[in-house]
Symmetry: C2
Subunit: 404 residues, 2 copies
């Protein structure tokens, strides 16, 4: 398996495009994206568990009830959520897009991201769809990745190539997500493509399993969005023998999917609103996986720790504190903690109590922009990783004045 | 019932003092406080649910197992938690204090607050205790309130006067708390005194009941501290008939206690680390109290909403989003939202969707420093209030470099 260029267009038969249609005032920022599969594809998805569900999400849920889709349309700048006619707008978006591409509206995944509670004007979107459709290209991944960005500062695209019974296969993905990120059994917006031939049941199983250890383990700010979804389309054009059950092929597919997801997670967390650092909390030797996950997530969510990491301050007491209130059943007196980066690793706590360490060395380690917080529970064999970012002045600036 | 001056010394027979003993580098900041009751008092307490429990808290728990105490000793600047000899230090602190006051060490409440994980030097504390004891005075509440402060910017003291069977009674309290505040079935450091004659059982019942609607409904940053506790001492010197069961007298006592607690909550939340505003989320017409509390707490904890409030931005979609992911079972389509301050009230959402409102008026309301977020669930008769604060640049500054 290897990482390759091309993102969602790395998978055979997929094209993508992104344009500026006018939802955003900034004309240099693309705000409408389209992904198209040459062949009708099997589709699987997971959605936010927020009771407030964006209108496009509800429409997509309906469209995917038959397990198939052929295109994804997504705008940024407005979430089309908590307004009067969101469902109608999302249906119209699908319809205009389907008509242009000669598809059934039921084969369209529709998504929106941006401010909640404002009416979404269909006009700029409808007007731009013909241009968008003409722009579809095998080099279009970056444009599509830009079109779905909100406060993101970098495009998020990943692709892998691997083999299944002698056939070259691909999974590619793009993501957007920078604030309101604390996925709960679902995630932010992620669109993935694959040319693998896989049954609907196994595709959904792969996705639902994968997110438990990937997108559900990110937190930027503890706020679970109303419009979170991950969708994967698999069009079978790699012509491998259809994956219809557990086994070696499914394992390879899961591994490829996990590779794409983890990369996207790292990109999302590292580009969290205002972030200067990617934080990775690795929990090792937990009594079970649930404990490992609960601890990793609690540490990554602590505002106090996040601020300390921004200040490159080895304030490990805040890590121990966050473990203590996580709700996980564990023995505090067995915990060892260390901080790690490309500059090395430093032990700061042993058996639940502080150890002498060089503040200078700790500072050097923590001044890097990718930090690992290593939690050894010394109680078993389970492990888990969670991703987050530091809490900075810019997070406050961005969110103190997002709407106006 | 009326609010009066004097704080913890408003209750008959109580004296207090605070001095600088040397734990903190800043010599103008008091860092050691003492509260003393002329008569051995009944004591009740609640403690943090964090699995990491500060050493002083564990020692206090042991000392209060007989239901009595006569003095409280508390230092700031070091939490005496997650270090090698915390228990020993807390025991010694109690012993030196008891010897000085001629008391049994078992009648001492011992507490510490500050950085976690550093050894606490007993020497400056032991050396200062004679001076501290001599400084005990009926005017000492402010000094004691200052001595327990960490990043707090204001002293927090409250007292009320009320009557029970013709006798004048009092409850007073001081609190410290500015960061790492998200009480979970307990709270930050609060010491309360009373001259009411009340049995141990009823005193504990009053305290345990009261905190559910007061201290447990605050959040500054979602981090539950390791050293949280609330202690109340009641020495019976008001000479009312002993309260031994539910009834009118107990109701009056509960009301007085609630008045003190709510004032302290407002002081704590409004003085949250870096805060410029007190936020009060009032949830009305919920189907049950649990729903009301869950919703109020979720709203007050949203980093996105907190940042929006700092920016005086009426971004109500974030309120709805936080209600949606709170976990409470409710009907989003029935929710009305408004923002309120001394400048008026403005409706921003009706039946779960946005309504037209004047951004100018909203800005005027939100520029005040006490903001009410009113959530009407239109589904029943239960209500709840939670307190918090905005998320500001200064929160990041304070916590990016707290230790060093």
């Amino acid at each position: 398996m290897k990482l390759i260029e091309g993102g969602i267009c790395a998978s055979k038969g997929f094209k993508a495009a992104g344009v500026h249609c006018g939802i955003r005032k900034n004309k240099t920022k693309k705000d409408l994206s389209l992904i198209y599969s040459q062949k009708r594809a099997r589709a699987a998805a997971v959605y936010t568990k927020n009771l407030v569900k964006g209108a496009p999400l509800r429409v997509t849920q309906k469209h995917l009830s038959d397990g198939y889709a052929q295109a994804v349309i997504c705008n940024s700048g407005n979430a089309n959520t908590c307004n009067a006619n969101g469902i109608e707008i999302a249906e119209t978006m699908s319809k205009v897009c389907a008509d242009e591409l000669g598809l059934d509206p039921n084969d369209i995944v529709v998504a929106s991201t941006g401010v909640i509670g404002l009416p979404l004007d269909i006009e700029p979107i409808a007007n731009a769809i013909p241009t968008l459709s003409k722009a579809l290209s095998e080099d279009g991944c970056s444009d599509a990745a830009e079109g779905i960005m909100t406060t993101d500062t970098i495009q998020k695209e990943v692709a892998v190539e691997f083999e299944l019974n002698g056939k070259t296969c691909h999974i590619g993905g793009i993501a957007k997500g920078s604030g309101m990120i604390h996925p709960n059994m679902a995630t932010m917006l992620v669109f993935m493509t694959s040319d693998v031939n896989i049954s609907n049941v196994m595709l959904q199983k792969a996705l639902s399993g994968d997110i438990q250890n990937t997108f559900n383990m990110i937190s930027i700010d503890g706020d679970t969005s109303t419009n979170d979804m991950v969708v994967i389309l698999a069009n079978g054009m790699a012509e491998n023998d259809e994956i219809t059950e557990d086994g070696e092929d499914f394992k390879i597919f899961m591994k490829a999917l996990n590779t794409v997801s983890v990369q996207l997670c790292r990109l999302i967390a590292g580009d969290g609103e205002g972030a200067t650092k990617l934080l990775e909390c690795k929990v090792e030797n937990a009594s079970d996986e649930n404990v490992a996950k609960t601890v990793a997530k609690s540490v990554i969510c602590s505002s106090l720790l996040k601020a300390a990491m921004f200040g490159a301050d080895a304030n490990w007491g805040r890590v121990l504190c966050a473990i203590g209130y996580s709700g996980a059943d564990l023995d505090i007196d067995k915990i060892d903690l260390s901080f790690k980066s490309s500059k090395g690793e430093i032990a700061v706590c042993k058996n639940g109590a502080g150890v002498d360490f060089s503040e200078e060395k700790a500072k050097e380690i923590l001044l890097e922009n990718e930090i690992e917080i290593v939690v050894n529970l010394n109680s078993g064999a389970a492990s888990s990783t969670a991703w987050g970012c530091d809490l900075t002045y810019d997070y406050v600036r961005i969110n103190g004045d997002y709407r106006t």
